[in-house]
Amino acid sequence: MITLADLEKIKSENNFKENLRRKKNHYRIIVGMATCGITAGAKEVYDALEHEISLSGLKNVEIGEVGCIGECALEPIVEIYNSKGTRTTYCKVKPEDAERIINRHIQKGFVVEELLLVKNKKAGKVE
């Protein structure tokens, strides 16, 4: 039988932001893989990222799939959390962008500007 203590234990062990902070210089990459993302090609992007990670032999990266982020028009979306808990959102990512993302963002610590969500999104204004 599962108890409250078990729940608490799972909770404290699986808080990904805490885990990233503890491990220092770690990254969590997530790919939006709901129907909208997969249709736009998220599976291919996920595979490409995984491939790049294994190629470069990086040990400080975890990759996972998540549901819909809500920006369906800008899928496939890739988000990266760093150890500080900072989140960077990339949109309209293509499989061939995987190398840039791993190389520049994870290995060198720079944002891949042209893929940033904010750069691709139309800002709203009240008329």
């Binding site: 799939e65 998540v66 809500g70 989140r87 959102t89």
Partner: protein
């Protein structure tokens, strides 16, 4: 190689505080220090530190500098961008990790700013296939509280106090629904999750099922405990294969963690859960038809009363809740009814997820507190209408709802206001239309949908919707008369009054609401025989205006040889032969081919 990225806030407040000068100064200094290759500068939407503006962020260190003056730039360049040392003097003071996170979230553009993520708190953040990640975000703690610390009556009381209303569209108070089912005697009771989301353009439930399936499971167990049901069904449409797969996976995991099954948390409460598939009939979203479908019967509605709470699935007391309703439950249990009741308006509490679609820049899912202005959703969050077109109407509630127009832009989005304006909340589809949409055609589209989806059991819906569609088609063909509009209105009202279930009763809504707000467009169709938006093919004519340079491209591309003319002279379209396919207009280099 780029070493630093400088992001300058260009929100209104920072702009007023002089962020534009800052940028000029930066560009100048970077040239002066020959940093072009190692530093890139770009502007961004509001970061949210408006009183500390102008604000910049320097990456990759993620340092926030605030209250900058042009003369500070030199120091930032010399120390930070050349030597890599942070200029402590200018750093935004006392920034906590939460605030730092806030900066980044704000950085993620306006789309997220005005939103309040409660139902969608986990979607897009956690891995839906991993129950541990759900628990790490506080999942199943609300269930523990309900099962171990509260009686079923207290759970119902808590939900009643929160003011939660059904998110499927009708807006029936959830607490009351549970109470009715609780008070009805029965050895067996059922709880059903209605995941048969069928409105054209609505995909909120899919996002929750695919992105955060455990929140639905937790909500269902809580609901089962409250009403005394030990068996739950998730009725999901088969067109959502991924949602079904993730849901089944989540249920399996919940059994493994003993969060489903017998004696949950040692409370003695047992709950089992199963997914049942719908076969693609829209009417099965109606609760009595849904239950018939689960029972293995043909999916057709029956008369109400008796309501499902008295005699539902296999004639046992049953509660049917929408996905989003159930997704709200765990957080209410955890954070308390006061928290929930503090969001929203007096009669509509909490948040609502909408699927923004149609002619809008940022299509996607938005979650907003009830009572948000329509204008904010469309222009702030949605980013306005593409290509500088003019906003015409927004359709809410799918085929059961109606249109809201420009004059309703300042209306607050809640159950009662939308009903008052002749539309409805519906499940949450929001389709935006611009000046290029013909409202008669929009009404025809929805009617076509309901005619297709009518189950055929009751005459008003089976025959009536078909007749209404025929009249609308006649109008779009240009054969309509003023008399037809009268027939349409009276037919609509009688179907509304006499149809058996919600599908038929609400089917005339798109017609009635477009007739009310866009009467002139109907008149243009029947009297002037013109389609102002240029959509109804039978009523438009293509012609070539004086911009024609006589290149002959249109002539070569016309599939029926309706265009003639000599080279370098204005060409003409023979409207008797023209198919109105629009191929000529597409290829015309001077956009000289227009519709009338």
């Amino acid at each position: 190689m780029i070493r630093f990225q400088v992001v300058i806030c260009e929100g209104n407040a920072c702009h007023c505080a002089g962020s534009a000068h800052l940028k000029e100064e930066f560009v100048k200094k970077i040239k002066a220090y020959h940093l072009e290759d190692s530093v890139s500068i770009f502007s961004n939407a509001c970061f949210g530190f408006c009183d500390k503006g102008p604000v910049i962020i320097v990456y990759p260190d993620c340092v926030v500098y605030a209250s900058l003056k042009p003369e500070d730039i030199d120091e930032i360049c010399q120390k930070h961008l050349i030597k890599g040392k942070v200029v402590n003097r200018l750093v935004l003071g006392d920034i906590t990790p939460e605030e730092e996170q806030k900066v980044i979230e704000y950085q993620e553009a306006n789309f997220h700013i005005k939103q309040e993520r409660s139902v969608l708190k986990n979607t897009g953040i956690i891995n839906p296939k991993n129950i541990k990640e759900y628990i790490s975000r506080g999942g199943y703690f609300g269930l523990y509280k309900a099962l171990k610390e509260m009686t079923p009556e207290q759970v119902i009381e808590e939900i009643t106090k929160s003011g939660l209303r059904g998110r499927g569209g009708g807006g029936f108070p959830t607490g009351l629904k549970w109470k009715l089912a609780r008070n009805n005697k029965g050895d067996v009771k059922y709880i059903i999750c209605n995941a048969d989301e069928g409105d054209p353009g609505a995909f909120m439930d899919r996002a929750v099922l695919e992105g955060d399936p455990h929140v639905v499971i937790e909500g269902m167990i809580t609901a089962g405990y409250a009403i005394g049901a030990t068996q739950g069904y998730i009725y999901c449409r088969a067109e959502y294969p991924l949602a079904v797969e993730r849901m089944n996976h989540a249920i399996k995991q919940a059994y493994e963690y003993e969060l489903l099954g017998e004696n949950l948390f040692g409370s003695g409460f047992t709950f089992n859960l199963e997914v049942r598939l719908g076969a693609g009939a829209f009417v099965c979203g109606e609760e009595t038809a849904l239950m018939a479908s689960i029972e293995g019967e043909r999916g057709m509605p029956r008369n109400k009363p008796p309501y499902p709470a008295e005699s539902g699935l296999w004639n046992k007391p049953t509660v049917i809740n929408n996905v989003e309703t159930l997704a709200n439950i765990p957080r209410i249990m955890r954070k308390g009814s006061e928290w929930f009741a503090s969001i929203g308006t007096e009669k509509s509490k909490g948040t609502k997820v909408f699927a923004l679609g149609g002619k809008i820049n940022n299509t996607g899912l938005v979650e907003i507190p009830m009572g948000t202005k329509l204008r904010e959703v469309i222009y702030n969050i949605g980013g306005g209408i593409p290509n500088g077109k003019k906003f015409k109407a927004v359709q809410t509630g799918g085929p059961s709802g109606g249109c809201l127009t420009e004059k309703h832009l300042d209306a607050s989005i809640d159950y009662d206001t939308l009903i008052k304006l002749g539309s409805m909340m519906g499940s949450g589809g929001m389709i935006v239309m611009d000046e290029d949409n013909c409202m008669v055609d929009v009404a025809r589209f929805y009617l076509e949908f309901t005619v297709d989806e009518s189950c055929g059991k009751c005459t008003p819906c089976r025959e009536g919707t078909k007749r209404m569609l025929e009249i609308l088609e006649k109008i779009t063909r240009g054969a309509g008369t003023i008399k037809d509009l009268e027939t349409l209105t009276s037919l609509a009202h009688s179907i509304k009054d006499s149809a058996l279930c919600g599908l038929g009763q609400s089917a005339p809504n798109p017609i009635l609401s477009t007739l009310e707000h866009f009467k002139d467009e109907y008149i243009a169709h029947v009297v002037d025989k013109k389609c102002p938006a240029g959509v109804c093919k039978a009523l438009i004519k293509y012609y070539i205006n004086d911009d024609c340079i006589g290149c002959g491209k249109c002539e070569r591309n016309c599939p029926v040889e309706a265009i003639s003319g000599t080279i370098r002279e204005k060409h003409v379209i023979n409207t008797d032969v023209c198919l109105k396919c629009g191929a000529c207009a597409l290829v015309c280099p001077t956009h000289a081919i227009v519709t009338q």
